[in-house]
């Protein structure tokens, strides 16, 4: 046993020697790929949906070309992004859809994350049917009539019920509870990722088949597959507090930016710029559509937008 303990102490000791003695700060560790050419750098987190890619692409382009920073991006879901933000692994999260628990923990209690102001885009989650179907059956747009159409939304996966398609596990959703509490004859089928969900919606649309899906705006796909929202019981403050009993629509959420607290204080021009970054839903959609539909690289899409919207972004740099 003694031998093993010595070996362990030796191992830990040599580890410490290798990295310089003393405590290692877990809150200050950048990516090994950062600053490769010795430039100032900023790390931005990207979420898996295209809107978030659009924010980051434009911010990255301006940081690199106007302010002379090197930008690293890391793709990570929102909740782990909060964690990464508090550790300084990423400097900013540009589009958060509301995570009160994380806000309490990191912004209010630990003070490792600072709010970065609004993004200027308002997000909304809802249930949607394709517009070609809503035109044929106008009464589908009220949730009370959903059961009447359940058999039209049936798929092999939903069995004898209608299919309500949900997306990525990283999304905020109460759909299972909603279906139960509103006594709907539907089965929630989780597509498992946004990519799978979009692919399926495109296939349905190609054949003009009816479908009912959890979806959100702003989103570029509306331009390709026009969709109409199904009205759910009206949202009132706090009606979604108890996840078991929730029976109302989703709120409209002004999307927020968050910065690592250290970076917000000492991040110089980059931090100041990211705090001022604020654009509209149309702006974001314009860039998103270029990325997702025209298959432009995020960089090219950002360049195209930047070239034609000088007055918008000049304000962010002052």
């Amino acid at each position: 046993m003694r031998v093993r303990t010595t070996a362990l102490i030796a191992a830990v000791g040599s580890l410490a020697l290798l990295t310089g003695c003393g405590a290692a700060d877990m809150t200050k560790q950048a990516s090994p790929f950062a600053n490769a050419q010795g430039a100032k750098s900023v790390t931005l987190s990207v979420q898996s949906w295209v809107g978030a890619q659009a924010n980051v692409a434009v911010a990255q382009y301006l940081l690199e070309h106007e302010l002379g920073y090197r930008v690293d991006t890391v793709q990570v879901d929102e909740v782990p992004a909060w964690d990464a933000l508090s550790q300084g692994r990423v400097d900013a999260l540009l589009e958060d859809w509301g995570h009160p628990e994380q806000e309490q923990r990191y912004v209010k209690d630990k003070k490792t994350i600072a709010p970065g102001g609004g993004l200027g885009v308002t997000g909304h989650i809802g249930w949607f049917v394709p517009t070609y179907f809503a035109k044929k059956h106008p009464d589908i747009t009220n949730w009370k009539n959903l059961n009447k159409y359940a058999d039209q939304f049936r798929t092999p996966e939903s069995g004898s019920k209608g299919q309500l398609m949900d997306g990525s596990p990283s999304y905020v959703t109460n759909d299972k509870a909603l279906v139960k509490n509103l006594k709907l004859d539907y089965q929630v089928v989780f597509a498992g990722s946004e990519a799978a969900q979009i692919t399926q919606m495109k296939q349905f649309a190609k054949e003009k088949k009816p479908f009912l899906t959890y979806w959100y705006s702003p989103q570029w796909l509306f331009k390709k597959v026009p969709m109409t929202e199904v009205k759910l019981p009206e949202y009132k403050e706090g009606c979604d507090a108890d996840l078991e009993k929730v029976a109302c629509a989703y709120p409209h959420t002004p999307l927020q930016k968050y910065l690592n607290a250290d970076f917000a204080k000492n991040g110089g021009k980059a931090a100041a710029f990211l705090k001022k970054f604020k654009w509209t839903t149309e702006d974001q959609n314009e860039v998103s559509l270029m990325i997702a539909d025209k298959k432009m690289t995020p960089e090219d899409a950002a360049k195209k937008w930047v070239d034609s919207h000088k007055s918008t972004w000049k304000k962010w740099l002052s």
Binding site: A24, Q29, V74, Q75, P80, P156, E157, A196
Partner: protein, 649 residues
């Protein structure tokens, strides 16, 4: 299950009862007749009784809170994990900067020259071409990032694996202790431990490297231990008689004798590490994996493929080169080997310096070939034409629908409809008939653990998908394997195809799979089949080809047709290989359950992804644990003989 400890009575039995399988089943039936009414009276329910579940969500949530609250201040993090993390970052950075400094020409030359020295001219050319292809696809920098990460991860895995393997090879007690640990490390879906690793190390490279080591170290450990144990007894005795100490024996005889296994271990470790490159991107590892993952977000198959091809190329090159090096080990060493290495070094230095002088370190942007657009067009065309409305056979969407309704639904409903105790009985019966009472006990306990974790229903859902996928994989795999074993040309044609399917990151084909089969369990099954098929084909082909040619000749001299030969000689003689194929099929299908979760497979796979995406340690770990238990149970039910030391094909 107390049943399994009793020994069968040895009184005069009718002939039928002499068969051990029948005796075991009768005994089990007797035990069931006593225990089932008792269990049923106490916990009368079809599905697993809630009285018998343990809720882990609270302690797990507390553990995750504790880590987050103490990560910046507790000595454990300041003086241990923090340093581990720093060492990883420094090492990866050093390799990355080194690769960038050498430039693209230098790296290509280095790769080709090393391949030339250890594996010959042909592979050297292949290696060079592969590196150039990475550049042509516009993926030079991500490829270097992935390479840097892989170098460090593989070194760490080999180190950890060798130490564990040494311990297991030299001590029987350590071997017994380590074996289940290694099993768990390999079967636990990577997604399940990404989350705890991320909690401790945070998003990024250190967590990615650690997660890779967990996954890639076991084959090294297993093969090291196997090599040490397999050393020729006579040689060892001879060395011992010379009066050497234990350490001398280890260093001069046992380790050199085991070098073939060690090299095979290295080869397997490299393959496993590369297969983690994309999954590690989910926690911010960067590199090629990140490109694949980001392309997925904008539903861009072409871009994902452009980043996926370099991964395939790296994997194939590394596999062939280490494989060839292993074959050369046995051969006589070439004369003047040192001189060859010297030439290689000089050539590399010349290229690297030339690259520097010309100032061409970065891959020139004008040399990039865009493949994304044509690929996307091809995929769109294919899915548009196959999805539905194909005359006579129907579209892929129709097949998927029928498969779901006619196969998956009845299987799932059937399994979920069975009373819980009968599932345990079936598992016990299968495992006991094929193996010993020990394997039966392990299988039953694994299944019971799933119930106790409170995920009985989703686990049976996953089980039904796994069984369906394995069944299809085996039918296709055996058929292809038999065909390939009988035709050299077909085998040669298949080899690169199998390589691609085996090493292509699964994220690349997620979208085509959904586009063809729609969202749901059918595409999840399809993705699993694509992933598991190559291993099954390979093992089948190899098994059939290894059948003693003498047996074949004697049967053909007796006038057997080739069909009779196959059925009555080859297949029975290749039985161990076929069983291994079944086992590997199961392991591999189970390994992509999580990927299935990303295309609508639901059940355990979705829960694991959910846990990671929502930072919910309890959901993710419990689902991951249930997948491990399923794997353990299926392994025990299908593996009659001694477990093979070599896992992962």
């Amino acid at each position: 299950m107390a049943t399994i400890t009793a020994s069968p009575p040895r009184v005069g039995l009718p002939a039928l009862l002499k068969s051990p399988a029948v005796r075991k089943l009768l005994l089990l039936a007797l035990a069931a007749a006593i225990l089932v009414p008792l269990a049923n009276a106490r916990w009368a329910s079809g599905s697993w009784p809630t009285a018998l579940t343990v809720d882990f969500s609270e302690p797990l949530a507390k553990a995750s809170d504790w880590i987050i609250d103490n990560r910046d201040s507790h000595p454990l993090f300041l003086y241990f994990f923090g340093h581990v993390s720093n060492v990883v970052v420094i090492a990866v950075r050093a390799v990355y900067l080194g690769l960038l400094a050498v430039g693209w020409a230098g790296v290509t030359a280095l790769g080709a020259l090393v391949a030339w020295r250890v594996a010959g001219v042909r592979l050297a050319l292949g290696t060079g071409v592969a590196f150039l292809a990475c550049g042509l696809l516009g993926m030079w920098v991500p490829t270097m990032q992935t390479l840097a990460l892989m170098v460090v991860a593989v070194l760490a895995s080999v180190l950890v694996g060798a130490v564990l393997g040494l311990a297991a090879g030299l001590s029987d007690r350590m071997d017994r202790v380590l074996r289940p640990v290694l099993d768990t490390m390999q079967v636990l879906p990577a997604f399940a431990y990404l989350l705890p690793v991320v909690l401790v190390f945070g998003i990024g490279v250190p967590a990615a490297v650690l997660a890779t080591v967990i996954y890639a170290a076991p084959p090294m450990a297993r093969l090291t231990s196997l090599g040490l144990r397999g050393a020729d007894k006579e040689v060892l005795e001879a060395v011992e008689s010379l009066g050497s100490t234990a350490r001398q024996r280890l260093l001069t005889a046992r380790i050199p004798l085991a070098r073939k296994e060690l090299l095979l271990g290295l080869n397997q470790t490299i393959m496993m590490a590369l297969s983690m490159a994309v999954i590690a991107a989910v926690i911010g590892a960067g590199g090629l994996g990140d490109r694949v993952y980001q392309a997925l977000a904008s539903v861009d198959v072409g871009a994902a493929l452009a980043a996926g091809i370099p991964i395939v190329l790296l994997a194939v090159v590394l596999d062939r080169v280490t494989g060839a090096a292993g074959e050369r080990l046995g051969a006589e060493p070439e004369p003047r080997q040192g001189l060859g290495w010297l030439y290689a070094l000089v050539a590399f230095a010349a290229v690297a310096v030339a690259g520097r002088l010309v100032g061409r370190l970065d891959w020139p942007e004008s040399w990039v070939v865009g493949i994304a657009e044509p690929v996307n067009r091809a995929v769109d065309w294919m899915t548009a034409h196959l999805y539905s409305g194909v005359p006579v056979i129907g579209g892929t969407a129709d097949w998927a629908g029928h498969f779901t309704t006619w196969v998956l639904d009845p299987m799932r409903d059937g399994l979920q409809g069975l009373p819980w105790w009968s599932v345990l009985l079936i598992v016990a019966a299968l495992a006991w008939v094929i193996g010993t009472w020990r394997t039966a006990l392990t299988a039953v306990l694994a299944m019971a653990a799933i119930g106790a974790l409170g995920v009985w229903k989703p686990s049976l859902d996953t089980l039904s998908q796994v069984l369906a996928a394995v069944a299809v994989t085996l039918v296709l795999g055996f058929a292809t394997g038999i065909a390939a074993a009988r035709s050299d040309r077909l085998e040669r044609l298949l080899r690169p195809v199998l390589d691609v399917f085996q090493t292509m990151p699964q994220f690349v084909y997620l979208i085509p799979v959904v586009a063809l089969f729609g969202v749901g369990r059918a595409p999840a099954v399809a993705a699993a089949i694509v992933y598991a098929l190559p291993a099954v084909v390979r093992i089948t082909t190899q098994g059939l080809r290894q059948v003693d040619p003498a047996a074949l000749e004697s049967s053909s001299s007796l006038g057997a047709t080739s069909w009779q030969q196959l059925r009555q000689v080859q297949l029975p003689l290749a039985r161990p290989a076929l069983l291994l194929a079944v086992n590997q099929g199961l392991v591999l299908v189970l390994a992509v359950v999580v990927i299935g979760g990303l295309v609508g497979g639901g059940a355990l796979g979705y829960d694991v992804v959910f846990g990671l995406a929502q930072g919910d340690l309890a959901t993710g770990l419990v689902a991951g644990g249930a997948i491990v238990c399923l794997g353990l149970m299926l392994d025990r039910v299908t593996q009659p003989t001694e477990r093979r030391a070599k896992k992962g094909a």
